[in-house]
């Protein structure tokens, strides 16, 4: 039996579910080293890293070049050996300019002295977590939450570790290929994560469209009774953290809480792989697998690229565009970021880069809701997108919250099924911003009133004192 959740959608066609056929049989290809890499100090959620090298410094492969800027943060490492050419704001796939360390590649790929294997078994848990932290490992699924924070905040609270191998975003096959070609890395990483977190249940959850990976994985997990393989129904957003936990354990992460509050810690396929590589080779995060696909790409591929490689180099390696692209996306088509340039680099969370030739998002002018309710059946959070849209437009923020606005995970299922083609998610983002602004204003107002009341009380007490004395 396959595990699943209520709601969701089935993107793709009958012949090509999930639009994955362009790349799911293509082995991972190593991309030639680029002439320069652009390494933004912010490739994770949390405080940006602080550069610890200067322009003109010579750096080695795997050398830390920026240190974590706080607890929720991650360091950045050189992904080629060479000379620091510039430390300046450069275009990031999120669309803004972010301080980046640009390294000119000397082509030697000289390893830094700090890169050496660790003896996992003899290390204490603190040492292990520090080892993961100093490797700059973050969630490789796209959300890029620092892994050491997830581990530390989950120890004692979690009884289950889940590897998220759903890869439910259409077109993307990077995790699929990793599971097929290098399953020992992910499973090895899962065992280490289970050890560190001290759990008795470690699940690897894979969507059924990747059945070709099951046999090898079952073989690899056979020796460890903690490890289980859960097949998942092919459905988007099966890989959304909350939906995945619900599918695997039946638990619901309470609104506004973290997976740890449901006793689960979820890690991506390549995050577990990065943990395994860190302990067995010592190498921090320097590369990732990127699926290049979409109707405008001449030859879709799965590429292994050094982090910091400009996206343009990946497009070059795929034979360029066969048609002028209409849409460029970093990430999947459901939650990815639209790009206007190919200058941005591959960052730690870049699982795919897509280029569409046609009008795949089928925009229309002046869409009219026909109240079909398809959005409600599609919503994996069981919200009311139709009314969230109505109230959002009217700026009736209280009712919008009541319909679930702040619980929306922006997965795009509602907008995907909407026959009227209403840009629901865009509307929700706007409204969420307004709600957050309103809440902040209310907090500030309450704070000010409290201060005022305190000051008045103090003044009153002052005034009454002499009266008592008289």
């Amino acid at each position: 039996m396959a595990y699943s959740f209520r709601g969701g959608i089935h993107p793709g066609t009958h012949a090509d579910p999930g639009y994955k056929s362009a790349t799911n049989t293509k082995p991972i290809e190593k991309l030639a080293l680029p002439d320069e890499v652009i390494l933004p100090v912010s490739m994770h959620i949390g405080a940006p890293a602080k550069p610890i090298v200067s322009v003109g410094d010579t750096v080695d492969l795997g050398q830390p070049i920026a240190e974590a800027g706080g607890f929720v943060s991650a360091p950045v490492h050189a992904t080629v050996s060479g000379k620091v050419k510039a430390i300046e704001p450069r275009l990031h796939p999120n669309g803004s300019k972010v301080l980046s360390i640009v390294i000119e590649n000397d082509g030697e790929d000289r390893k830094h002295e700090s890169v050496h294997p660790y003896d996992f078994a003899s290390m204490s848990n603190e040492e292990r977590i520090e080892c993961i932290r100093s490797a700059g490992i973050v969630g490789h699924g796209g959300a890029t939450f620092p892994t050491h924070v997830k581990i530390q905040s989950g120890i004692g609270k979690c009884d289950t570790v889940i590897i998220n191998a759903a890869e439910c975003e259409p077109y993307i096959t990077s995790d699929h290929r990793l599971l097929l070609e290098r399953p020992e890395e992910t499973i090895g990483g899962l065992k280490m994560l289970a050890d560190i977190m001290g759990v008795q249940t470690a699940i690897i959850a894979i969507e059924e469209n990747k059945k070709d990976t099951f046999a090898k994985i079952e073989e690899l997990i056979a020796d460890d009774p903690r490890l289980k393989l859960y097949p998942l129904t092919c459905k988007y957003p099966q890989g959304a953290e909350k939906q995945l936990i619900n599918a695997c354990t039946g638990r619901e992460v309470p609104s506004g809480k973290l997976p740890a509050d449901a006793g689960c810690a979820v890690f991506n396929v390549d995050t577990a792989g990065a943990v395994y590589r860190r302990f067995t080779t010592g190498m921090p995060v320097i590369r990732r697998i990127v699926t290049i696909s979409g109707s405008a790409v001449a030859e879709p591929k799965n590429l292994e690229a050094r982090i910091g490689t400009p996206i343009e180099k990946l497009i070059d390696a795929c034979g360029g565009f066969k048609e002028a692209p209409n849409k460029l996306l970093a990430g999947g088509p459901m939650m990815g970021n639209a790009q206007f340039s190919l200058d941005a680099p591959v960052v730690k969370g870049t699982n795919a880069f897509l280029a569409f030739a046609g009008n795949e998002d089928k925009r229309v002018k002046d869409p009219q809701c026909i109240r079909c309710g398809k959005c409600i059946n599609a919503c994996p959070m069981h919200l009311l997108p139709i009314y969230m849209n109505v109230y959002g437009k009217q700026e009736d923020l209280d009712n919008a919250v009541d319909c679930g606005m702040m619980d929306c995970i922006e997965c795009g299922s509602c907008a995907y099924v909407c026959p009227a083609r209403i840009p629901l998610v865009a509307q929700f983002r706007l409204t969420k911003g307004k709600i957050q602004a309103k809440r902040a204003a209310e907090r500030a107002k309450a704070e000010a009133e409290k201060k005022k009341a305190e000051a008045e009380a103090a003044a009153k007490a002052e005034a009454e004192k002499p009266a008592e004395n008289k």
Binding site: P254, L329, G336, G373, A420
Partner: protein, 337 residues
């Protein structure tokens, strides 16, 4: 390599959409109405088809004219006006004058739909609103029933000699008896008197199955509606002469119940969107239908019960929010206390 990025647009996610749009959904509804139309033409002759065509063309023309007047882009491309047209004609007895179809379209499209803002904004079903209006204005035309295969003139007005007038099964049921000459099979196949589109329960069910298969509608409303009628009429038969089952089946298969439950009560715009709300809506329609059939002045209550429930949709939706993911029931209750 330098690439041509001049066509690139930047928008908010998601960047892909399903193929279904309003037009394809409405086309599916039109396809689902074909079996009932075929039975109507077989039963009542080509005049039934002429009614349908007139109502469809009139709906198209009136919506176009309205959009011209108010300087809106024309909205007929979504095909919803054609669905309204077919349903208006389906609600008229075949012997009625042909202009009545056009007039129904005028009222349904202009007054009920467009004046409220067009598709998605009207609070009652345009076809049923038009039917209620025609019932009030031309009660005679709207209740002149013709026996099947009566050979009516194609275009001209129907004279008394043309029409072999007949009682509908519902009128007989109203008197507390099961119709003697119309068996359940005739009702199933539509060989009875009635408005153009309602007579064949089987053809309408076939259309309903198609809509369910294409996921155009969910089963909530039709199932709740029909089951409610079935249960109530089974529990409280008016006639002691026949078995409860026969009484129940006669009630379920006669009149506009199938047409109403499958095609009118499921109208997106005027029905609830929450699953729980849809069930409440269907049960409410069913209760009102039986109530009007048993105690009302008219033999049929389907159209008025749906219209009454239409006005409650906003309130029903508001009271039937589904439990959001991550909100436990007991916790929600605790918070409420």
């Amino acid at each position: 390599m330098a690439y041509d990025l001049s066509k690139v647009v930047v928008t908010s996610s998601p960047h892909i959409k399903a193929d279904d749009d309003t037009r394809s959904l409405m086309l599916d509804v039109l396809i689902a109405l074909v079996p009932a139309l075929a039975v109507a033409v077989y039963t009542f002759g080509a005049r039934a088809l002429i009614h349908v065509v007139i109502a469809m063309v009139a709906s198209l023309v009136f919506e176009t004219i309205y959009n011209k007047i108010v300087h809106h882009p024309n909205t007929v491309g979504d095909l919803s006006c054609l669905v309204t047209g077919v349903l208006i004609a389906f609600n008229i007895p075949v012997a009625a004058p042909l202009w009545l179809s056009a007039f129904g379209a005028l009222f349904g499209i202009i007054v009920v739909k467009m004046l409220f803002g067009g598709i998605g904004k009207n609070f009652m079903n345009p076809a049923l609103g038009a039917r209620a209006f025609m019932m009030a204005s031309w009660a005679g035309f709207m209740t002149t029933w013709t026996a099947p295969h009566a050979n009516l003139p194609l275009f001209g007005n129907v004279t008394v000699t043309d029409a072999i007038s007949t009682a509908t099964p519902l009128a007989t049921l109203k008197t507390g008896a099961v119709p003697a000459d119309t068996g359940l099979l005739e009702m199933l196949l539509g060989q009875t008197g009635g408005v153009i589109g309602e007579t064949s329960a089987l053809a309408l069910l076939a259309g309903g199955v198609y809509l369910l298969w294409r996921k155009v509608i969910t089963i909530n409303i039709p199932a709740a509606y029909i089951l409610t009628v079935a249960v109530i009429t089974f529990l409280f038969p008016l006639s002691g002469d026949v078995s409860r089952v026969q009484w129940m089946l006669s009630q379920v298969l006669s009149g506009g119940l199938m047409l109403g439950a499958i095609f009118m009560a499921t109208d997106y715009v005027t029905s609830p969107v929450t699953p729980k709300g849809q069930i409440i809506f269907g049960v409410g329609c069913g209760l009102l239908t039986v109530f009007i059939r048993y105690f009302g002045g008219l033999p049929e209550g389907v159209s008025y019960s749906i219209l009454i429930m239409n006005t409650l949709v906003w309130a029903i939706d508001k009271k039937t929010h589904p439990r959001k993911f991550g909100y436990q029931l007991d916790k929600a209750k605790k918070e409420a206390q």
